[in-house]
Symmetry: C2
Subunit: 338 residues, 2 copies
């Protein structure tokens, strides 16, 4: 048997492979399983939303670069964003710390301050967790919440609900987080506005719920980068997307800091934790969002960016696949997520 | 400020310290927070139970010693045991794999086979998760389930419900898992019955539910070792315990394999995943358990083992605290758990 390494197939490849092994598993109470921002199942007449994310030292953050307090905020915030991307509300979290024996305890005190700040900001109660020994520090948060119900049916922002002719919109501005990370690794100050966007992401809980209220039923959060995350929606929905570069919202701060790369950072930089929302143009235009493109019938390219004259735009450095440690597959029809 | 290392205060010390930072957090829907086998909160008229556990390579298992398939089983089974220790039923799991890029993909295929075997055995649906890059492999499972309800009140096996005069009982036999681990690290065969008890723990879901039905409201699973886990109940309940060595149930296989150490392994070996149940003797005697001791008023020692003549018995090698990498504190009044 061939010995395939994880680096050969990448993070998304491994997720796909493992999801297939579990695909015949089902439960009458399960509403959304592997393949969306969070899982959803019925509990009595309600619907529980659950998601989990891990930040590993040296992979997702660097010690001495990311302050511990900001790391605590971010560890919970990225999970809150997954719940926002389902249109729900978070409620309870379990926090697992994997800690090396020679780690300094005060670091975790700081981490918990940030964790608690985020918990209070988004109405989350930290209900338990685990502490384990490990050679490298990591923090894993599992976050549970609830969906908005209409009678016995949960109203959700799903990845697989995009239809040809739908408009594509995004909340806020994109690319600031990636620019902030670049500043931070270049030794920039934590008070820099771009750096703050990277260290203290503000998940779009209100926007998710407003979208549900407006009748939107398709969405995702921007964690991997706009093109890649729109690609996830297209793959799950069996469609493709066309995006207009001039409509992608970019901050003045980003344009000023990186004039030549602002668009690239906005389209491929990850960790903005804004929401991509897909639905009819009328419904989207009632929300505080920027309409950036349309859903089109399934094509070879999942998400195609066009310049002003309608010519395709590509970024060789587009996206990022952690496990491959390099370029992602956002141009091809094979990405996935658990 | 003193730089306290994690190894100075141990796993339980770190959990206590962090739990204190979160102690003023509360929610009207939270029923059980940090400090029990699992967290419990209300969702409509029901009660959701949630727990999480992580297995780290080199800490909780050794590559090349524990087969990947058994590791998959165990990663879920230890969480099922936490739900059993609350008297509830598991339902949905999120699985996070932290994988080095040079790891062999087929290992994870095997891991998922075991994970699925356990999921099917205990009625769990794997609903999602995450794959991240990390320098060392670990698997984290977050498991959600439900409590048995009586009207709007959940019926639970809590750690903090032991009362002076209650009897203490345990399901099954103890020490086999620790003996199996010893065999395994000495190169023993995976078909050895003791090794099987270590590799494929069978959480006591039915016993937990039967205990609830019999009116028992206090319990814990044996993960750290009998004395230490009884100590967790005593600390949470503000009582102490007296256990009789001759009543601690030990298998014939364990007695035959390690005649001189069987009792020590049964009292201090971890990972048996049996249940300790505490309640009136009448209620316990209706269950398939061994009564091994009584709850007594709070004393200096949390859990005291007595020999046939009523003399205190101690094991210098008692218990284990992963983060300290050495002896635990089961004799002292200061252990805890998130």
């Amino acid at each position: 048997m061939a010995r395939v390494k994880v680096s050969d197939i990448g993070e998304f490849g491994l997720i796909r492979r493992l999801a297939e092994k579990l695909s015949v598993q089902a439960s009458g109470d399960l509403i959304i399983g592997i393949g969306d921002d969070a899982a959803v199942w019925r509990v009595g007449g309600r619907a529980v939303i659950a998601t989990t994310d891990t930040l590993v030292q040296g992979v997702h953050f660097l010690a001495g670069v990311t302050p511990w307090r900001d790391l605590g905020w971010k560890a919970l915030a990225v999970n809150v964003s997954d719940v926002a991307a389902m249109g729900g509300s978070p409620a309870f979290a379990l926090v697992t710390l994997a800690v090396p024996p020679d780690a300094v305890v005060e670091s975790f005190d700081e981490l918990y301050v940030g964790l608690r700040e985020c918990a209070e900001a988004y109405g989350v109660t930290i209900a338990g967790g685990d502490v384990v020994r490990a050679p490298v520090f990591s923090v894993t948060v599992a976050l549970m919440g609830e969906a908005v119900m209409e009678g016995r049916e949960p109203l959700l922002l799903r990845r697989d609900a995009a239809k040809t002719g739908d408009a594509i919109a995004v909340t806020g501005v994109l690319g600031d987080s990636a620019a902030g990370l670049r500043r931070l690794t270049e030794g920039g100050s934590a008070v820099d506005a771009l750096v703050q966007k990277h260290l203290r992401p503000q998940p779009r809980l209100e926007s998710g719920r407003a979208a549900i209220e407006a009748g939107i039923r398709c969405g995702i959060d921007v964690s991997d980068g706009l093109l890649q995350d729109v690609g996830h929606i297209c793959e799950a929905s069996g469609v493709s997307a066309v995006l207009r570069a001039q409509d992608v919202p970019v901050s003045d701060a980003l344009r000023a800091a990186y004039p030549d790369e602002a668009l690239m950072l906005a389209c491929t930089g990850g960790e903005d934790y804004e929401l991509v929302l897909v639905g009819t143009r009328e419904r989207l235009e009632g929300l505080d969002v920027s309409v950036i493109g349309e859903i089109v019938p399934e094509a070879e390219t999942l998400a195609q960016l066009l310049d002003k004259s309608g010519e395709p735009l590509t970024f060789p450095e587009a996206g990022w696949d952690h496990l491959r440690g390099g370029k992602s597959e956002n141009g091809n029809r094979k990405s996935g997520k658990a």
